[in-house]
Symmetry: C2
Subunit: 351 residues, 2 copies
C-alpha cells in the first residue's frame, strides 16, 4: 500500500502530519511519499499541480491531502492559483465521487447553531459528483460582445453515463446505511438536471430495497435547516453538491471534525478534510487535525478495504473526545485544551 | 393605480383574497383586475401564461401574484407546466431584481430551528438577479451524443450590463439600510462570476459609503447558518439566489411570513409570497396569508412610492401578531388559532 501525501498550504502540513502519525502507529506497512500541491506546488515548481506530484499520485494507491489555498496567491493568474491544482488532480485521477459525511458527535452537539433536538444524531452522507457539471463544462470564459460589453459564460453539462456512475455510488452506499437516497436537482428549470432525474429513476430500479426521492435544490437548502434528520444519503451534481455539502457540514457546528473522500471507478481515492486551509492560523499548532485523521480512516475503508483499522481510528477519535481533549475550535469549558500535535498524540494514545 | 391580480394555484386564490381585502380596506383607489396564471392559466387557456394575462400584466402598474404549481401538472410537457408561466412573466416584464427579505418577527422567534441568540433580530435583504444566468441561457436542452448516450446542457451567462443594473439595485437598497453589501459568487471556479465580481467592484466605487465584501457561494451557505446576522444586503445571480434566499428564509422558521418583490428598471413590479402553492392544504382556509399581505405592502413601497401605507400594513401585521392571532403554521400554545380569512380580517381590523 502506497500513499501520496500532499500537505498543501496553510494548516495543511500540520494537520497532515498528525494523520501520518496515526497511520504509522497502526503499523500496517503503509508506504508514504510527500509532494507539494496548491500554493506549495507553485512555490516549488511554478505549478499548483507539479508534474512530479501528479505522477506520484497516479502511481500511488491513494492520496492524503491537507488543504490548498492562501490569500497571498489571490493575485496570480487563474491557472496558477492553488484551487486549480485541486480541480486538476480531481479530473486527472477521475475522482468523480465525492463523499462528504455530515455527522454530529454527541460530545460536540452544543457547537451547532441549531437547536439540539433538531440535530441530535445527525448522520447524512452527501454524495457529490466531482468531475463534471459547470466546473469543467466547455465553452467557458469571458469574451467581448458585439456591442463592446463583456460577457461571462460557463456550461453545465452531464452525460447519462456520468450520472449513472454517481447514482450507483449513492445507491451502493445507501445499501450499507438506511437505504434512502434523496437526489437533488433543479429539474423544473434545468434540462441537464431533468436528465439527471431520469437516470436516477432508471438506476434506482437496480436497487429495489432503496427508497429514492427527489428534491429541488432550493427546497433541499431549506429542508437541511428545517429537518436535517430526514436525510440519509443525498446525491447531487458538482455545483449543488459544493453548496449543500458545506451547508450540511455547518449544521454540525464543527467542520473541524468532518473528513471527505473522492473516489474513482476502482475505489482509488483522495482523502482530505472538508474544511479549508485556514492560512490565518497556519503554523501555530492550534488547528484541529481530527478531520484529516478521520479522512485517513476513510482511506483505509474505501481504498484499502480495511474496515477494522478504519473503525479503530474512528473509535480512537471518539475516545480522545470522550477523554475531554479539544482543540480551540471545539473547546468548551471544563475540557482539556490541546494543540494540533497534542491532539494527534491523544488519538495515537487512544488507538 | 392599476394592479393585475394573479391568484395562481393551490393556496394562491385564498391568500391573494386576503391581500386584496387589505388593499381595499386602505381605500386609496386601487383598481384591480384578476387573471389566471400557472396551472390555472393552463386550465383556462391551455397556457401557463395566457396572452390575456400577459397583456393585463403589461398594462398594469404592478402585479400581485399568489403562487403557481400543483403536483397534478407534473406530467405535462415542460412548456405547459405552471413554473413556465412564472419564468416567462418574469422575463417578459423584465423583472430582473428580486428582493427577498429574511426577517425574523420577535413573536415567532421560537419557530426557528436555530438557537434564539443566533437569529434574534435577523434582518437580511437578499437581492437576486432574476432574468439571466443559467435560468435563461442558451444553448440548453437534452441531446444525443455520437456514442448514442444522452447529454444535458445548460448555459450560465451574464453580461456586464446585466450585472451592473442588479449591482445598482443592491447598493441603492444598502444605502437605505446598514450600508453593507455582500456579493456572492464562485469566482474561483466560474469565469461568469469572476466577471460578476469585477463589475461589483466597479459599481461599488459609485457608492463610497457602502462596504462591499465578496463570498464564495459554498461559504455563504455555511455563514448563513454559522452567523447569519453578519449580513445586511446579499446580492447574487439567479441560481445561487434561488438557493440562498430559500436557505435564508428558512432561518426564520416561518416562511409563511416572508414577502418578495421582483422589479424592472422603472420599479414596476410583481409581488408574491416567498413560499409555494402548497396544494396539500389548498381550499382548507388554513394557509397563512401574511406573506402575501406583506407583499402588497412591498408593492405600495416600491411600485407606488407610498411608504406611509406600506408601513401601515406592516404595522397592522405586527399588531395582529402581538394580539396573538396565528395561523396553523406559526401557532404556539397560548395563541389564538385562526384560519386564512380570519387572519386577513385581523389585519384589516388592526389597520
Ligand atoms: C476550492 C474549491 C475549488 C473547491 C470546490 O469548489 O470544489 C472547494 O470548495 C471544495 O468543495 O472542495
Ligand atoms: C418555481 C421556480 C421556477 C422558482 C425559481 O426557481 O425561480 C422558485 O423556486 C422561486 O424561487 O421563485
Amino acid at each position: 500500500m502506497k500513499i501520496a501525501v500532499l500537505p498543501g498550504d496553510g494548516i495543511g502540513p500540520e494537520i497532515v502530519a498528525q494523520a501520518v502519525k496515526v497511520l504509522n502507529a497502526l503499523n500496517i506497512g503503509i508506504e508514504m511519499e510527500e509532494a507539494p500541491i496548491g500554493g506549495a506546488g507553485y512555490e516549488a515548481a511554478g505549478d499548483p499541480l507539479p508534474e512530479a506530484t501528479l505522477a506520484l499520485a497516479k502511481s500511488s494507491d491513494a492520496v492524503l491531502l491537507g488543504a490548498v489555498g492562501d490569500w497571498k496567491y489571490d493575485k496570480l493568474e487563474r491557472h496558477l492559483r492553488p484551487e486549480r491544482g485541486l480541480l486538476r488532480i480531481r479530473k486527472e485521477l477521475n475522482l468523480f465521487a465525492n463523499l462528504r459525511p455530515a455527522l454530529l458527535y454527541p460530545e460536540l452537539a452544543s457547537a451547532s447553531t441549531l437547536k439540539p433536538e433538531v440535530v441530535a444524531g445527525l448522520d447524512i452522507m452527501i454524495v457529490r459528483e466531482l468531475t463534471g457539471d459547470i466546473y469543467f463544462g466547455q465553452p467557458r470564459g469571458i469574451s467581448t460582445l458585439e456591442n463592446g460589453e463583456r460577457e461571462g459564460i460557463n456550461t453545465m453539462r452531464y452525460s447519462e453515463s456520468e450520472i449513472r456512475r454517481i447514482a450507483h455510488v449513492a445507491f451502493g452506499i445507501a445499501m450499507k446505511r438506511n437505504k434512502k437516497v434523496c437526489s437533488v436537482d433543479k429539474a423544473n428549470v434545468l434540462e441537464t438536471t431533468e436528465l439527471w432525474r431520469q437516470v436516477m429513476i432508471e438506476v434506482a430500479k437496480e436497487y429495489p430495497e432503496v427508497e429514492l426521492s427527489h428534491m429541488y435544490v432550493d427546497n433541499a437548502a431549506m429542508q437541511l435547516i428545517r429537518a436535517p434528520k430526514q436525510f440519509d444519503v443525498m446525491v447531487t451534481g458538482n455545483i449543488f453538491g459544493d453548496i449543500l455539502s458545506d451547508e450540511a457540514s455547518m449544521l454540525t457546528g464543527s467542520i473541524g471534525m468532518l473528513p471527505s473522500a473522492s473516489l474513482d471507478q476502482n475505489n482509488k481515492g483522495m482523502y482530505e478534510p472538508s474544511h479549508g486551509s485556514a492560512p490565518d492560523i497556519a503554523g501555530k499548532d492550534i488547528a484541529n487535525p481530527l478531520a484529516t485523521i478521520l479522512s485517513a480512516a476513510m482511506m483505509l475503508r474505501y481504498s484499502f478495504n480495511d474496515e477494522a483499522n478504519a473503525t479503530r481510528i474512528e473509535n480512537a477519535v471518539k475516545k480522545a473526545l470522550a477523554e475531554g481533549y479539544r482543540t480551540a475550535d471545539i473547546y468548551t469549558d471544563g475540557c482539556r485544551k490541546v494543540g494540533c500535535a497534542a491532539m494527534g498524540d491523544a488519538v495515537v494514545a487512544a488507538l
